[in-house]
């Protein structure tokens, strides 16, 4: 079931360099969103820009009836969003899409997020912990200030995530992929390999992480971004090439098993 909620903004502030958190009062979506799903948002005051913008659900709070999204300022819409005040209303279609589908008996998971890719991965930590899995998270960002999800990951994990920054201002210097390879290697060497890898971030990162996971024989899922018009599966704007033909990123994804993606 999809809802189109007229959602008052409760909070909208910069959390790190060019990365903002927005809290929406959207009870139906908050009650039903699954980890990895997204909302397709109509932003007020930019009617000349006729398309909605898709954002992953960073956190859903069913009791409060709210959801958080984390957005990076990139173009007109995301810049315009920074000027919205609490009390103004967006319209959000959601919860959309196929979220993360970790294997049923998942015992040990590795989550890898690049930049704002941390948003749709964050709710997965709670889901995996609740089913008793051991979770390792790796966050990569350009610089320390852009690691805005670190604290929430630490709270959900009960320990610090592994971090890297491109400029070396926090954690390992450089890309996060060496951390991923090390984690996979160490787990394998310890005799307790990972049984699930989830990755969201820039496509080159996902492709690389998918090949590392596949190399280690671990089932891997990735969350893909495509230009979206309808966001509900009707217009075929957002297709992804898969081994089973063209699939819609909005409703057949955005999460796909990495082995199905034709990169």
């Amino acid at each position: 079931m999809l809802y189109n909620e007229k959602a008052p903004i409760l909070f909208n502030e910069e959390a790190g360099r060019g990365i903002w958190i927005m809290t929406l009062d959207a009870p139906e979506i908050a009650a039903t969103a699954l980890p990895g799903q997204f909302v397709h948002v109509r932003i007020p005051g930019m009617e000349g820009h006729i398309l909605r913008r898709p954002f992953g659900v960073y956190a859903a709070f069913p009791e409060e009836g709210t959801i958080d999204i984390m957005y990076q300022v990139l173009g007109f819409g995301t810049d315009h969003m920074t000027h919205l005040e609490p009390g103004e209303r967006v319209e959000a279609i959601g919860p959309v899409g196929r979220g993360w589908q970790p294997p049923a008996g998942c015992k040990k998971a590795l989550l890898v997020a690049g930049g704002v890719g941390s948003a749709p991965i964050h709710p997965l930590v709670g889901q995996l912990k609740a089913q008793g899995a051991e979770v390792t998270a790796i966050l990569g960002a350009q610089t320390a200030e852009a690691l805005v999800a670190r604290q929430r990951f630490a709270e959900a994990l009960g320990c610090e995530p592994l971090c890297s920054t491109d400029d070396g201002t926090f954690g390992r210097a450089g890309f996060c992929t060496p951390l991923v390879q090390e984690a996979l290697d160490e787990a394998a060497a310890s005799g307790q390999p990972f049984d699930y890898v989830a990755c969201c971030g820039p496509e080159p990162l996902m492709k690389l992480v998918a090949s590392m996971a596949e190399g280690a024989g671990v089932f891997c899922e990735v969350s893909l971004e495509r230009r979206m018009a309808c966001g509900v599966g009707a217009c075929l704007s957002c297709v992804v090439d898969t081994v089973n033909g063209k699939k819609r990123a909005c409703v057949d994804g955005p999460v796909f098993p990495s082995k199905e993606v034709v990169w």
């Binding site: 109509r42 006729i50 279609i93 230009r227 509900v232 217009c235 075929l236």
Partner: protein, 310 residues
């Protein structure tokens, strides 16, 4: 909750060349699937008709991504008529629409004259109320717009489709021609029961930063509020040039937009790109038509058709 239009004493029923519609609002083919994806938002059976995504005989893959780009008050698309083929439509979407009691108009495409006919023949036993023959898609190399730009090919494809069915045959025209009235007359002469227009305008968008086109196919079809003045002008010209009814579309997002098209000569209208920003746009347009009629004392929407004073 799926929305329905509000109750009214205004007569909303219109007849589009033999297609009986309970109100004058359908959807632009390709913007609404066959309605399933929008059924959480609107009661698709309450629409005048559901026009399905363009269908070919055995299905097409469509174009590479990116397939869309947002432009000022509009968008470009180059989907390329991706569809799973007529058998899938018959097995899945048409029975679903029939169960709901929805009125289905099937948008028909083909790479060749014979393919159009084959699609219609495949559907003759299926629950279809009318065909919309798409000779106007700018996003395929063969068939589509290439067929809809020249009088001889328009006469041929419409004539062949006409011979294949007794059902209402609506022919969808491209705006990418020098004189749309010439094409409209050719379609009428070849046996069309109605004309729908406009399909998208051929356009292009460039990313200066990367020096690349924004669409993988480079060019695509332009739609949305930005094209409304062009669409209105063409609907008006065509309605004055032929005696068969016109289904108007291009940038319609509100009841007022729809009324403007009807005044210009449209018997019915289609809501396309507006569905993307507003998933209840179809019902909002019907409600807006009701508002207008009640406000201006219009008892029957048919009074509005071609009532432009000029």
């Amino acid at each position: 909750m799926a929305r329905k239009p509000r109750a009214t004493s205004v007569n909303l029923a219109v007849n589009l060349g033999g297609l009986a519609m309970k109100n004058p609002v359908t959807v632009g083919s390709g913007t609404f699937g066959a309605g399933m994806e929008y059924s959480d938002f609107v009661d698709v059976a309450s629409l005048g008709a559901v026009t399905t995504k363009g269908v070919s005989l055995n299905g097409w893959e469509g174009n590479a991504t990116p397939r869309i780009a947002e432009t000022a008050s509009g968008m470009l698309n180059s989907i390329g008529l991706q569809n799973p083929g007529v058998a899938h439509l018959k097995e899945v979407e048409l029975p679903w629409l029939a169960d709901l009691g929805a009125t289905a108009m099937v948008n028909v495409s083909g790479h060749s004259f014979d393919e159009y006919v084959a699609v219609i023949e495949a559907l003759e036993e299926a629950p279809v109320a009318a065909y919309e023959v798409n000779i106007s898609c700018p996003n395929v190399d063969a068939g589509g717009m290439t067929m809809g730009c020249h009088v001889p090919s328009v006469e041929k494809v419409v004539g062949m489709c006409r011979a294949a069915t007794k059902r209402p045959l609506i022919v969808k025209l491209t705006p990418n021609v020098t004189d749309i009235t010439e094409i409209a007359r050719a379609a009428e002469a070849a046996g069309a029961d109605g004309l729908s227009l406009i399909n998208t305008l051929l356009g292009m968008a460039v990313d200066a930063r990367t020096r690349r086109p924004k669409l993988a196919r480079v060019v695509g079809g332009y739609s949305g509020p930005a094209v409304k003045p062009v669409a209105l002008r063409m609907v008006w010209q065509v309605a004055n040039a032929v005696s068969i009814p016109v289904l108007g579309m291009g940038g319609i997002a509100s009841g007022t937009d729809a009324i403007e098209f009807m005044l210009a000569g449209a018997t019915a209208v289609a809501v396309g790109t507006a569905n993307f920003a507003n998933p209840t746009a179809t019902v909002d347009v019907i409600d807006g038509i009701i508002d207008y009629c009640e406000q201006y004392g219009v008892k029957d929407v048919n009074e509005l058709i071609g009532a432009l004073e000029c």
